[in-house]
Amino acid sequence: MNSHLLEWLIMSLFIFCVGIYGLLTRKSGVGLLISLELMINAGALNFISIHRFLYPAQVDAQVFVLFVIAIAAAEVLLALALFMLLIKKQQPVDITQLNHLKH
């Protein structure tokens, strides 16, 4: 019983599409972030599975995924800081209503 590459790629594609669904349906910013994390995670899983199946001796994919995780962390940090600012200004974190620049 050996697992083959196609299953893994379809799996990460599935998570990615679930992320797209979330991105299209969520209204609040935090919900968008959660869907975005899922999509990033799917990309990373794709990277690692191709690395393990096709080029198991090379480090590059793992280095890349570490970079991806670092950038995902940075992105969440900035987005949450923005949301905190909105909350402090008594505005809802609702992306359908966030259509003004600084007044």
């Binding site: 799996m11 959660i34 670092a70 940075a74 923005l82």
Partner: protein, 167 residues
């Protein structure tokens, strides 16, 4: 067998993470999905990555997310329910992307590639560290430094954005 169990769990948690009404629940399901992905990394022999995944996502990002959720008292966070038409449209888009991807992948003849055995070991943590900091042709020292500058910038800008304004 254990692989399919993990696949099922990832899919299950991801679906719940995007569809549950309360965002607090969503965050917890996201935690499940990311942790099980770390388990998949273990199967793919990327142990260091699995550890970092849990360390950064669960210990960092999710704690931050839950923290931010806790600081807010807003209806949209406990009840973020899309309208039915929106659901249908999003479902259509994501299924068509999925179908397109499966069609593309199935044309690639990937059935023959199976999981390598333990005889072809994955790169060790030492190799990973050397790749990060090497200045040779295959090194990533420049990217590493840029990422660290980026993280510092993000840290400072997050503080600047969220800090109290002077009266």
């Amino acid at each position: 067998m254990i692989i399919y169990l993990l696949f099922f769990l990832v899919a299950f948690f991801s679906l719940l993470a995007v569809s549950s009404k309360s965002l607090y629940h969503s965050a917890i399901y996201l935690m499940g999905s990311l942790s099980v992905t770390a388990g998949l990394y273990l199967i793919l022999e990327a142990e260091f990555l699995a550890g970092i995944q849990v360390l950064v996502y669960v210990g960092g990002i999710l704690v931050l997310l839950v923290f931010a959720l806790m600081l807010t008292q807003s209806d949209i966070l406990v009840n973020d329910q899309p309208t039915f038409t929106k659901k249908i449209m999003a479902f259509g888009v994501s299924t068509s992307v999925f179908a397109l991807g499966v069609w593309l992948l199935s044309s690639l003849h990937l059935h023959s590639i199976i999981l390598p055995t333990a005889s072809s070991p994955a790169p060790s943590i030492k190799q990973l560290g050397h790749a990060f900091l090497s200045v040779q042709k295959n090194g990533y020292i420049l990217a590493f430094e840029i990422i660290s500058v980026l993280l510092l910038t993000v840290l400072i800008s997050a503080i600047v954005i969220a800090k109290k304004e002077k009266a």
